[in-house]
């Protein structure tokens, strides 16, 4: 209980403290300190859950099981490293005059609030509260996307707000339908009728027709936030125009949390329908996202947009894997979510430094990083290789598992997936190579930027590709068992 209170308490206290002190010189340090506290609480919670099994907290409103505790740990870890990365990054932005101290205060306070909403969404047992937290996550990041107040960032922020607002309204309708179906089984005005654990216990008695309709709305609603095609159009804009630390947490964390919501809903609906309709819908949306994003990668000229489209592709792949069902595919999907969020945030850290030095996000303006700053150059190159699924990185392991399972279960999808992955490889590698190794007249940087978070993330991704520690594998297996059935 105490760990859990700390987990939500640290970001909440951080948001309030930084609302007053975020503009001071020590603002970034306070931000990092609160993120560190959150991470410590998440670690303690994880250790306890592994030892003692799932538990319900605070009148069953919160529920922690192997599935969400691994996402909680991941969210807290990336939250911590991003706050470390943003410390020097935002300071340079301030020196360049792109933001004022007042906006820095907003940034720090909203950053903690964003972490709070995501952790609430992950740990809540109440499907209604999940909705409230997801909407809160959108609202806390809208003003972060528009932090630079450029016309482009305002456009991106507006698009983000409206598209996700409409999407999340669909999810609310889905939640209402879910409540409507649950109320018949769990009793009228039941406070328990929206609790996931109770719904899970009676899922085979829920009315299939209503649940099918509810799932369509929930998938469209939360799917908008996952960035599933054709609902993805907010994602590249929001990633490209916001400050880079925000791109990293949007891509690495928010998409995961939204996918988590979709998967929780899928478990319920599949139990009620006794059919594979939800799985087939997930596969369809996933495959469409993979293919569409892979081909759109070629048209990108802005480096952050390039990697935003790559996020759509990878979330599509994870969604597809959840759609395949079965423990192996689900295991692969969970692993893919983990390695994608680590590798992608590492890339955004490197990209942030590269774009800051070049003074432009256009890929044509970024050249010869390896001579300008070897750490940034290698960070970007290794990150790109990791995200493209080259062995021995972890993305290779998860993609390999997904492909082999797909080969057995849905052989028709293999050529499509391989084509998309090939196209994505050509598009991204062809762009990154000249940026890292190209000719440049720029002068070598006097100091090397601190890129500890980048290499820490890539090291974990590498480790997951070579060797998954037994307790981690058990943990993934337990989660896969919860979602995918025996």
């Amino acid at each position: 209980m105490i760990e859990f209170l700390c987990l939500l308490g640290f970001p909440a206290a951080g948001a309030i403290t930084l609302a007053f002190r975020g503009a001071r010189r020590e603002g970034p340090e306070i931000n990092a300190a609160f993120s560190l506290g959150t991470f410590a609480a998440a670690c303690a919670l994880t250790v306890r859950i592994i030892g003692q099994g799932p538990e319900l907290l605070w009148r069953e409103q919160f529920f922690i099981d192997p599935f969400n505790v691994f996402l909680v740990a991941l969210t807290a870890l990336v939250g911590l490293t991003t706050s470390l990365f943003s410390r020097p990054y935002m300071r340079v932005e301030e020196i360049h005059g792109r933001i004022t101290p007042g906006r820095l205060r907003l940034y720090h306070s909203m950053y903690q609030l964003f972490m709070l909403t995501m952790l609430t969404a992950l740990t809540t047992n109440n499907m209604g509260l999940l909705w409230v937290a997801m909407e809160g996550a959108t609202l806390s990041t809208v003003l972060l996307v528009t932090l630079y107040r450029t016309p482009q960032s305002l456009e991106a922020g507006w698009k983000y707000f409206i598209l996700c607002g409409v999407g999340i309204a669909q999810a609310l309708f889905g939640t209402i339908l879910l409540y409507f179906a649950a109320e018949k089984v769990l009793g009228a005005q039941g406070v328990t009728a929206l609790l996931w654990t109770h719904l899970d216990a009676v899922k085979s008695q829920l009315e299939p027709a209503v649940l099918a309709l509810a799932f369509v709305f929930l998938l469209v609603g939360y799917g908008t936030k996952v960035g599933l095609a054709p609902l993805h159009s907010w994602l590249p804009d929001a990633h490209a125009e916001g400050p880079t630390p925000i791109s990293a947490v949007l891509s690495g964390l928010l998409l995961n949390v939204a996918l988590y919501a979709v998967v929780r809903c899928k478990v319920l609906v599949e139990g009620s329908l006794h059919s594979t309709l939800p799985s087939r819908m997930l596969m369809g949306f996933g495959l469409l996202s993979v293919v569409l994003a892979a081909f759109l990668l070629f048209r990108q000229r802005d480096i952050k947009r390039l990697f935003a489209y790559s996020s759509i592709e990878h979330m599509g792949l994870a969604t597809f894997a959840f759609g395949l069902s079965g423990p192996v595919a689900t295991f692969a999907a969970l692993l893919h979510m983990t390695v994608h969020s680590l590798a992608k945030s590492a890339i955004f850290f490197a990209v942030g430094h590269a774009a800051q030095k070049a003074g432009s996000q256009l890929m044509d303006d970024i050249r010869g990083l390896i001579t300008l700053s070897p750490t940034v150059g290698w960070g970007l190159m290794l990150g790109a290789l990791a995200i493209l699924g080259l062995p021995p990185f972890g993305v290779f392991a998860s993609e390999f598992l997904i492909l082999t399972t797909a080969m057995r279960e849905q052989p028709w999808s293999i050529p499509i997936l391989l084509l998309a992955l090939g196209v994505a490889f050509a598009a991204i590698f062809g762009r990154v190579q000249p940026m890292v190794f190209g000719e440049t007249e720029g002068r070598r940087l006097p100091h090397s930027p601190a890129l500890l978070p980048v290499f820490a993330h890539l090291a974990i991704v590498l480790m997951l590709g070579l060797y998954i520690p037994p307790y981690l594998a058990d943990w993934y297996r337990a989660a896969a068992h919860l979602i995918g059935g025996p």
């Binding site: 482009q152 305002l154 507006w158 409206i162 607002g165 309708f173 209402i176 409540y179 406070v191 947009r305």
Partner: protein
Amino acid sequence: MTHIPFNQQLLNACAALLLLLSFAMLSQRRIVSLVSLYAVQGAVLAVATLLLAWRTGEGNLYLSAFLTISLKVAFLPWLLHRLIRRLQVYWDTEPLLNISGTMLIGIVIVVFAFGLAQPITQLASTSMRNAIGIAVAVVLLAFLMMITRRKAMSQVVGFLSMENGLFFGAMSATYGMPMIIELGVALDILVAVLVLGVFFFQIREQFDSLDLHHLERLSERQ
């Protein structure tokens, strides 16, 4: 012909009024009137909630009616009117589709909404189940309004009206959601409007206008 209690007739009248107000909003181009229509919609919603609370004796519904009145009838319209005055946006430009065309599409949408609500209506045990179709229609009409309008302010009113429809849907299908959820949703709506207020000033500062066609450059830039 079966006898319908008076209270029920009043509730049905409220439902019909909500639908009518949705159409009125769809055709209204003056932004000040649009906000007023939104306030009236909130008031009708509150009356319906009170009627239902009186009949079913659900304490929760009284609370949610109170929430509706304070937030959707009083506070949000006041805030929006203030914003309109500060920003001096009174008229929406010609919508992307002319009014009569929009109304025709609206009628098709209502028919579609009743079709969509059919399975839920059949299963619902509440006395207001016939209103579920209307709730879905209100949501979809608000959606149509968001698509066809250019001004940021009209899109926001569309968004809020959509939430009204969802709220009415929850009420007619299940006598309202649990209180904690309703509070959470209300909080989110409130924060959303406050964030938007800030956002409007940023757009205004940058473009000297709240016309959204300024915000169409990113898609061309790809």
